[in-house]
Amino acid sequence: MAARIMVLRGYGFNCEEETAAGYRAAGAEPVIVFASDWFAGKATLREFDMLHVPGGFSFGDDLGSGKVFANRLKQGKFPGGERVWSEIERFLADAGTIVGVCNGFQVLVRAGLLPNLGGSFAQEASLAANIEGHFEDRWVRCAPSGMGEARFGAKPFDLPVRHGEGRLVFGSPEIRAGVHQRGLLGLRYVDAAGEPARAYPENPNGADDAGAGLFSADGRVFGLMPHPEAYLSPYNHPAWPSRFRAGTLKTDDESDGLRLVRALLSTKSAPRAHRTS
């Protein structure tokens, strides 16, 4: 049965259209839902297997990227009085999965969903201002590592990054060590030799340990800065004309972005029993 995915829109998120197109192309059933409809009780996570928080500038990134939406998740209530956060906790406990891309990743980190080593949803990591000091749109190469190798395969991905605050930092040396021990750094920026990228521009923001994507300790939440949904067709790659000519990319190849979207679906652990109420 195809995974049902709630893709959020509104409040300044802006990648919902291509995100939904990606999941649809990968065989899932995405539904674009205004976050305000969810908070108003017009939609519920109970009807979905996966929640996707897309890229964008929720609330203009005022007070820090993703911060205000994270606050809404943690402090908000449904009209009936139930806390939004309770629904998220129940969703995760019930084998639901959550993916956040770019601004979505920033939301998940600031809400304490990633990496959540302590299990209490306290904020343990952050996505700080790029070392270069400003927004940049550029293509990078990322390779799966740790838990990512099992979920995404070993082959690296070419993907665009588009952010001003994407430098992954950990709250303490212990948290950093815990993340590595458990293999939660699922995606890393790599250089031409395939090694974790230390320097700009291969490491586009100065992230600790070249971290591009991060799993939660229970593996049910994953966030990443690069945008797989912006590379759904081979024709999105900046080098498609040369690669087609060289034969290293073919018109009917699956793009790296779509390959990763497909892999993200595998983050879905076990099939969930759909509730109807």
């Binding site: 259209e17 305000s36 890229g55 500038f57 820090g64 000091g133 550029r138 900046p238 004309p241």
Partner: protein, 985 residues
């Protein structure tokens, strides 16, 4: 006694890297100021009397709401991390403060959850400030310079400097008299008194216009105008809104021939489109749905999708506040693109063409003039914020440098949107507004910001401009509005919409009211940022991010409920009527009662004088160095060097539809001719987007300059694989003309060369007509900006006459697109089109401080033949790469093809021209292409004499150029790349 407000400081924890501080230190270093380390923190001033309980809860609430737990810590009513000196930057009272507004909402919600939210339910009471603490002791002069030139802009920011730490933090407050009054204005005075009235109120109405208004009131209405009515006339009849000069009667003398032009707009622009539309309609293939009659042009893309294009300029505000000016420019153009027809088009892409003074401008700055480098940096930042935060990819643009843009920059902002053809309530592109429909305002609140923007932008800049004319945009407010418009229109809730730009409500309601023939407005219902605005200010304010909607009364409850759910403010402020009158009230009292017909058609027509004859110039005697050295210098020169550093700051890929980006190739640095995007994810139908601009040729011949700009946009699209409009191919082209010229109204004292300037404009418009009708490419929308001068300290800096053509062509299958970078060793390199000895105005001569004489001419019959041949070659898939020749000619184009790929080329120039002309002449309608060897015969067959075989693509990474067996140069692609990227802007 005034109570000191509460404040919260949010600062980085010890050990966290202060990237923002590092940037400030670097920028200060650029000014020759050594700040030492800089730490940056945010201050939130809470201007409310908080209860004991609220104060006690504040530290926890502030940390949870305002700070990042891993990186930041908060203190309440205490400043930590002070150093030797500081600067504190906040928004001036009344200026948009998004960060403060969001903090207000966040703190309000969190305190309310604890039952402590008293006072947060009304207007904004939390304000953001930035505190910069400097390690080194700085003198007041350096601090002040840092404050004004790096950290803030006195036009919109309040900047406080000092030693140690600030002692207190103040909330900005707007103090207005608070007793709105209805006043009438007497127009009975002498002409001198009328002119004084116009000047003192900032009306910018001419004497004939004031006479017409006086006559209308005395003879028809038999009373004096109210203050509001006079202001409405000033805005509606401003150059910005009425385009009086484009509609003027002009007597033109060209050489020894004198003739009359009955409106530039009607005679050349609209006529070109009407002629073309007539031809297509006669064939039963009219794809132009809305041209010139709405906020943007609308054309059919396919059976379901319409394409909307608009390009605007935002020059004067960008000269004063580059960040805010550019941001407002982008957002305003976006609103046009989703406020056309019924509204709700989904924003598809942005374009930006920018004209600046040189970055190393060394002339002394005039009072009120900002250094071009600061303007450029600020404009890029403004576009970055506006485009990125609204999720609209910035896909195409250009940057042009010239000394004469140092007074006013030109900031062209373009937007395309895609609108469904049909809504539940009818065709999307048609407004259907009838008497009884409600007037609903949506989006931001109204304040005093931006009063008189339309009249202001219709005049030259001087030293005394007040800050009220500059508006700061709020991208996130607008993103909410854009999403709401898309949803509400798709549900059939909106009968028509338009944005509130110049002239505010007076203009938006005035325009929409022409559909039903009347409107009645109650100004006291309009949501305000703060109290005390005069009624006329409410009606005229240009506060941003607002749309005006026409809504069927039965649909109003659903529309308002949807807006509330999406957290967008929507308010019913009146109704459309059918009595021919614009009826404006404040708490029931009459503020304005105007005859719509007179308001829109009563403006007296101007009569202007124009003349033009070719300048007396000669070919210069320039001593050139070796041509390889000249090529390297050209690649690193400001008008040619890589734009990568700017391009990467704009999100050009959001929405996931970009096929050809501004930079392509394995190295991601190859500049391209046109952007290509797919329109949806269920197919490969899409568009090509290109622009053409070349003001440098205007001094020699404004006709050829305008024709050349048109050709540049056209050939860029042909290069990438778009087809000229062809019968039977269901074409869909949009073009937008944007004229930016200096004051072109002759005055013996203040504008002695005004006739020539207007003559240049006439020639530019004549070229537009000739090119547009010849190539069957219609203008679907356009805009003119007439007074691009800075007058200060007795000096006037006028922009060169400039026209931008933005063109968008449907591509049935974007996968056929061809890019500029060379593809493989052994491919055959050709020049397509013919090079002439046309170095006049070229980048090569400019490098040597000369202008030259032989301006590139567009030979449009030849161009059309070449383009048709290129289209045939594309159709057969024969092109491996294609790049148009423009700035820097064939030499630069070939180098860029090599830089994009890393591959080299070995070529021989045709012998018929001197090598410098063959390489660097900027003749139009040319391409450098490469073709697989096995396709060369087929290519030769199609192109015949229009292609010249130059040589081969090589794998040795060198560009080698010969002529008549003599080696002109042999340069490594790495050296070319270094010159191109290191000279970047």
């Amino acid at each position: 006694m005034k109570r000191a407000p509460t404040y919260v400081q949010v600062r980085l924890k010890e050990g966290a890297r202060d990237v923002r501080g590092e940037r400030v230190a670097k920028a200060a270093h650029g000014l020759g100021i050594d700040t030492g380390a800089v730490s940056v923190s945010r201050i939130y001033v809470v201007d409310l009397p908080l209860s004991e309980a609220a104060l006690a809860a504040l530290p926890d609430v502030a940390q949870a709401t305002l700070a990042d737990d891993v990186l930041e810590e908060t203190t309440v009513n205490r400043v930590t991390g002070a150093r030797t000196a500081y600067a504190l930057v906040s928004r001036l009272p009344g200026v948009t403060d998004d960060e403060g507004m969001t903090a207000h909402r966040g703190l309000g919600t969190a305190l309310a959850a604890r039952g402590l939210g008293a006072g947060f339910d009304k207007e904004q009471r939390v304000f953001a400030q930035w505190l910069y603490a400097f390690e080194r002791e700085l003198c007041a002069e350096d601090l002040s310079r840092l404050g004004k030139e790096v950290l803030g802009n006195p036009v919109v920011d309040h900047i406080v400097i000092g030693l140690g730490a600030p002692k207190a933090f103040e909330a900005p407050s707007v103090t207005l008299p608070g007793n709105p009054e209805l006043r009438t204005v007497s127009l009975r005075g002498t002409d001198a008194e009328l002119e004084t009235l116009s000047r003192e109120r900032g009306l910018h109405l001419s004497l004939p216009e004031l006479h017409a208004i006086r006559r209308h009131f005395a003879e028809v209405l038999k009373r004096e105008p109210t203050e509001c009515e006079l202001e409405v006339f000033a805005q509606t009849w401003s150059e910005h809104c009425k385009h009086k000069e484009f509609n003027a009667a002009i007597t033109m003398t060209l050489g020894d021939r004198t003739y009359e032009v009955d409106s530039l707009f009607k005679s050349f622009i609209r006529k070109a489109t009407e002629d073309i539309r007539g031809r297509w309609a006669a064939r039963g293939e009219d794809w132009m749905l809305t041209v010139f009659s709405d906020n943007a042009g609308v054309v059919a893309l396919d059976d379901d999708k319409l394409f909307v294009l608009k390009v605007e300029t935002h020059n004067s505000p960008s000269a004063l506040d580059p960040v805010g000016g550019a941001m407002t420019g982008v957002l305003g153009t976006n609103r046009d693109a989703f406020g056309t027809g019924k509204g709700g088009g989904r924003l598809f892409f942005n374009t930006n063409v920018l004209c600046f003074g040189p970055k190393d401008y060394r002339k002394p700055l005039l009072p009120g003039q900002m250094h071009p480098a600061r303007i450029a940096e600020g404009v890029v930042e403004g576009i970055e914020h506006a485009g990125n935060k609204c999720g609209v990819p910035t896909v195409n643009g250009a940057i042009v440098f010239d000394d004469r843009f140092a007074g006013k920059p030109l900031v062209y902002c373009g937007t395309g949107s895609i609108m469904p053809r049909h809504y539940p309530n009818g065709p999307s592109w048609e407004k259907d507004i009838r008497p009884g429909y409600r007037i609903v305002t949506v989006g931001g609140r109204v304040g005093q910001d931006g009063i008189h923007g339309a009249t202001f932008s219709s005049t030259e800049l001087d030293e005394k401009v007040t800050r009220g004319v500059v508006q700061i945009g709020s991208p996130i407010t607008q993103k909410f509005v854009a999403d709401f418009m898309e949803e509400a229109c798709a549900l059939g809730l909106v009968a028509g919409s338009t944005d509130n730009g110049a002239g505010g409500l007076s203009s938006s309601i005035g325009e929409l009211a022409t559909f039903s023939n009347g409107a009645q407005v109650e100004l006291s219902h309009v949501p305000l940022k703060y109290g005390g605005l005069e009624p006329w200010e409410i009606f005229l304010s240009e506060s941003q991010e607002r749309m005006t909607l026409a809504v069927l009364p039965e649909k109003l409850p659903e529309l308002l409920a949807l807006a509330a759910l999406r957290e967008v403010e929507a308010t019913d402020i009146g109704a459309f009527t059918g009595d021919g009158v614009l009826d404006v009230r404040y708490r029931g009292a009459q503020v304005a009662l105007l005859d719509l017909a007179f308001l829109h058609d009563g403006v007296p027509r101007k009569h202007l004088i124009a003349e033009w004859s070719p300048p007396h110039v000669t070919e210069p005697d320039v001593v050139l160095g070796d041509l390889g050295g000249e090529l390297l210098a050209l690649l690193g020169s400001s008008n040619i060097a890589s734009r990568e550093r700017v391009i990467r700051r704009f999100d050009h890929e959001v929405k996931g539809k970009s096929i050809v980006k501004s930079l392509m190739g394995e190295r991601g640095i190859g500049p391209q001719d046109a952007a290509v995007l797919r329109a949806s994810f269920d197919g490969f139908l899409g568009v090509g987007v290109a622009s053409g601009i070349c003001p440098k040729f205007g001094d020699l011949d404004p006709y050829e300059m305008s024709a050349g700009a048109f050709d540049e946009a056209l050939r860029s699209l042909v290069s990438v694989g778009a087809r000229l409009p062809m019968p039977g191919e269901a074409p869909s082209w949009s073009a937008c003309d944007n004229f930016c010229v200096p004051d072109s109204v002759y005055h013996p004292d203040t504008n002695a060369d005004g006739k020539t300037k207007l003559g240049q404009l006439v020639r530019m418009c004549e070229a537009l007509y000739d090119m547009s009708t010849f190539f069957d490419v219609p203008m679907t929308s356009g805009k003119d900006s007439m007074k691009n001068d800075l007058r200060s300290g007795g000096v006037k800096i006028s922009v060169p006459p400039t026209v931008l053509f933005t063109m968008v062509a449907k591509m049935p299958d974007v996968r056929v697109a061809v890019t500029s970078e060379l593809k493989a060793e052994g491919d055959v390199v050709y020049l397509v089109g013919k090079t002439y000895d046309e170095l006049g105005g070229s980048e090569l001569l400019r490098l040597h401080g000369a202008l030259g004489r032989n301006v590139p001419r567009v030979r449009k019959e030849d161009a059309k033949r070449v383009y048709h041949a290129m289209m045939a070659a594309h159709a057969e898939g024969l092109l491996a790469s294609s790049h148009d020749c423009s700035d820097g000619g064939l030499g630069v184009a070939l180098a860029e093809c090599a830089i994009g790929s890393g591959l080299g080329a070995s070529v021989a120039l045709p012998p018929d021209l001197a090598p410098e002309a063959a390489l660097f002449s900027e003749s139009h309608s040319r391409f450098v292409v490469s073709v697989r060897p096995e396709h060369a015969a087929a290519f030769d067959e199609i192109l015949r004499d229009d292609a010249t075989r130059l040589g081969l693509v090589t794998g040795d990474g060198r560009v080698t150029v010969r002529q008549d067996d003599a080696l002109l140069f042999d340069l490594g692609v790495d050296a070319l790349t270094a010159a191109f990227t290191q000279g970047g802007v």
